[in-house]
């Protein structure tokens, strides 16, 4: 272990600056983690507002609230904002707060770069949201930005491309920082196999980011060149191929969904053992399972493109590779269940969200295995079944884990216990309204309703109305969460250092709230 930082880096010793300058100049991992989390919460509400407008339009058939062009802009921006500005920054926020605490490091490896990778985000977000004001509005090509449509759109598309460039740089720098922190900054005695699962899942995630974000940057650069500099990467008239765009995009896009779910696995792997009062079952199989998801995850991308007309051999390869991912994912689910088996379970809010995650993410995962099969996928391609499937993984999977993780570590961050009763209400309402919103979409998809349309055939009316009611319930419920977090920051019963009876790990050895500087002298693990 090369790390023995008796002295904290000089930058971290600066006296506290008050006001906004403190947040702009901060290089402290806890401050930056807080910034990330507030940013992502606000973008969650922005993206959620777009989703509610979409659902309001779909409450009844016909066009009532928005024009079709604007509807397409909303579906596109909802996707881009939720993926790049809400979920990804939320996990980086968790990584910033928790990784140094979990590993016994004084801070992230590169505190100034850490500041940079956060402060790039607001500019990208402004660029994205401001593109609604551009002539022709925001990009309406779908979050996948498929060519040739994306080659033809107005200046809103260019703003989205630049926003993606900025977000990409932020993610790559963040990933580099996290890898170096995990591999170089652990406390003496904290071997890789003693590291918590959250650090392991983030390590694999960071390597995935490092591998695929540059490819996305290259892809949107090609798009930009096709749009303005006369190249023909994707323009069939000039000898290019729009299918190439899909390959490039999904080479990034599929690993991206593992980037969004692996840290969630890490959070759930921390919560379940605590509230089962047992160590995580099968840690030795969890680690290779995580790595396997990472490795196989980069070779399954073309299952998003079964209908473009590829050779049968390629379809078979991508189908089998995709089904193979169900194996390590299943291992994880069984390990979590085995952790709970014969444990002394209690059901505080974090545990409820973890169990909700387990149920609903499994539905999302299994419908993914159904979609992996070529003949089924050809039928369900571009229907609401897909929309239901990925919201079960991305909302009930990722977002539930984020909620659970927030409730789990909030007492450590603020020094106060959150309002448990309010947390329980938040969980149950979220669980119910989530299913009211997205369960009908499976049936809409099976019945043939296409996605990304502002109007639909009459026979889909009832299920769409139900989904819209659910969506508004779901959206309003999240205000409870925001209120509970703010209430917890302002005050509440004092939290002990360990917070939870069954909590194990270095982060629970420091007082609550965690002091501004922790582990300036590295702790010794065992």
């Amino acid at each position: 272990m090369q790390v023995a930082l008796d002295n904290v880096p000089a930058v971290a010793q600066l006296p506290h600056q008050g006001g906004i300058l403190r947040w702009i100049r901060t290089t402290n991992h806890k401050d930056i983690g807080t910034l990330y989390l507030f940013f992502s919460l606000s973008m969650l509400l922005v993206g959620g507002l777009m989703a509610l407008t979409i659902r309001a339009e779909l409450f009844q058939p016909g066009l009532q609230i928005v024009r079709p062009e604007f509807f397409n802009q909303l579906t596109t921006m909802h996707g881009l904002i939720m993926v790049f500005a809400a979920i990804m920054p939320a996990f980086v926020g968790f990584a910033n707060w928790q990784l140094p605490l979990m590993l016994g490091a004084p801070d992230m490896a590169f505190p100034r770069l850490n500041n940079l990778s956060f402060w790039l985000l607001p500019f990208a977000a402004v660029l994205l949201v401001a593109s609604f004001l551009a002539p022709g509005g925001a990009t309406a090509a779908g979050w996948t930005l498929y060519a040739p449509l994306s080659v033809q759109m107005g200046p809103g598309m260019d703003m989205a491309i630049f926003a993606i460039h900025i977000l990409g740089i932020s993610s790559i720098v963040g990933a580099l920082n996290i890898i170096v922190t995990i591999l170089n900054m652990r406390a003496p005695g904290m071997t890789l196999f003693k590291m918590p699962m959250f650090a392991w899942t983030w390590l694999v995630t960071a390597f995935l980011l490092l591998t695929v974000m540059p490819v996305l940057a290259g892809t949107v650069t090609m798009l930009l060149f096709d749009r303005h500099f006369g190249t023909h990467f994707f323009d069939a008239a000039g000898g290019g191929d729009p299918v190439l765009f899909q390959h490039l995009f999904w080479f990034f896009g599929h690993p991206e969904v593992y980037i969004l779910i692996l840290p969630a696995f890490g959070i759930v792997s921390a919560i379940i053992p605590t509230f089962s009062r047992k160590p995580l079952f099968g840690l030795r199989s969890m680690i290779p399972a995580t790595c396997m998801i990472g490795v196989v995850g980069v070779s399954v991308w073309a299952h998003h493109m079964f209908t473009v007309g590829m050779p049968v051999a390629a379809q078979l390869f991508f189908m089998y590779a995709t089904l193979l991912i169900a194996v390590p994912t299943g291992m994880k689910v069984f390990n979590w269940l085995a952790t709970m088996w014969q444990g002394s379970l209690t059901f505080e809010t974090p545990m409820l969200f973890a169990i909700g995650f387990l149920f609903l993410f499994t539905i999302g995962g299994l419908t993914g295995a159904i979609l992996a099969m070529v003949p089924v996928d050809v039928q369900l391609h571009q229907t609401y079944y897909i929309v239901a499937h990925f919201h079960y993984t991305m909302v009930a999977g990722t977002l539930f884990a984020l909620f659970g993780g927030t409730y789990y570590w909030l007492p450590k961050w603020t020094g106060h216990m959150y309002d448990e009763k309010l947390g329980q209400w938040h969980f149950w309402l979220t669980l119910i309204f989530f299913n009211v919103t997205f369960m009908p979409m499976f049936f809409l998809g099976l019945a043939g309703m296409p996605r990304r349309i502002p109007d639909y055939a009459l026979q889909f009316t009832n299920l769409n109305s139900v989904a819209t009611i659910g969506a508004f319930g779901f959206g309003l419920t999240q205000l409870l969460f925001a209120y509970n977090v703010i209430k917890c920051i302002r005050g509440g019963p004092r939290a002990t250092a360990q917070v939870w009876e069954g909590a194990k790990g270095l982060e629970w050895t420091v007082p609550s709230p965690a002091p501004h500087h922790t582990f300036s002298t590295p702790p010794v693990v065992e």
């Binding site: 090369q2 790390v3 023995a4 930082l5 008796d6 002295n7 880096p9 490896a109 590169f110 790559i172 580099l176 890898i179 170096v180 591999l183 170089n184 900054m185 490092l210 591998t211 695929v212 974000m213 540059p214 490819v215 996305l216 940057a217 290259g218 892809t219 090609m222 990467f233 191929d241 299918v243 190439l244 390959h247 490039l248 080479f251 007309g309 590829m310 050779p311 049968v312 051999a313």
Partner: protein, 181 residues
């Protein structure tokens, strides 16, 4: 302090190596383009969708002869004249046939129109393969411009025997000037 410096230096070295990986992956993105042309562009006969379309017609059935008659119409108020340069041809199934149509814009302004083909009897349509046709694109004619355009077609030898005569008919429709959205 010496130890701290070496830790910082080690972090920096590690950072540089990882940045090279990111840079390499950026380059790899561009490598996918030629790689894709090589792997997916060259050999497309294994594609499920392409099998039917790629089946070549190689046999000319000299034993049968089908009479193909040509017809031309102009829809509504479109001020064009339009005629085939031949009234009919005798065609062996499988044989490649070249014919020509002539169209004139009789009005005083430039106009755009598109021809739509139809067949009589309609059952013949499935066996009538146009390889080149002015109807594939809309035609823009200046005032009083005359243009002669080719049609190249063949009749599938699989055509049933009860279709001794086929009429190929074109109708020109005016394409209204596109409104900017």
């Amino acid at each position: 302090m010496v130890k701290t410096m070496s830790a910082v230096a080690s972090n920096r070295r590690f950072f540089t190596k990882l940045s090279l990986v990111a840079l390499g992956m950026f380059g790899f993105g561009y490598l996918i383009a030629p790689l894709y042309d090589r792997l997916c562009g060259a050999e497309r006969t294994t594609q499920t969708a392409a099998k039917d379309a790629a089946r070549p017609v190689t046999r000319v059935d000299l034993a049968r002869t089908i009479a193909v008659q040509y017809d031309a119409n102009v829809h509504g108020s479109l001020h064009w004249s339009f005629r085939p340069l031949q009234k009919s041809s005798q065609v062996h199934p499988g044989e490649l046939v070249h014919i020509r149509y002539e169209m004139t814009n009789d009005s005083d302004q430039p106009m755009i129109a598109q021809a739509v083909a139809s067949y009589a009897p309609p059952a013949a349509a499935a066996y009538f393969h146009k390889i080149e046709c002015f109807c594939f694109k809309s035609q823009a004619l200046r005032p009083h411009e005359t243009r002669s355009m080719p049609v190249v077609f063949l009749i599938d030898p699989a055509i049933p025997g009860d279709l001794p005569t086929i009429t190929l008919s074109y109708t020109f429709f005016e394409v209204p000037p596109r409104k900017s959205a």
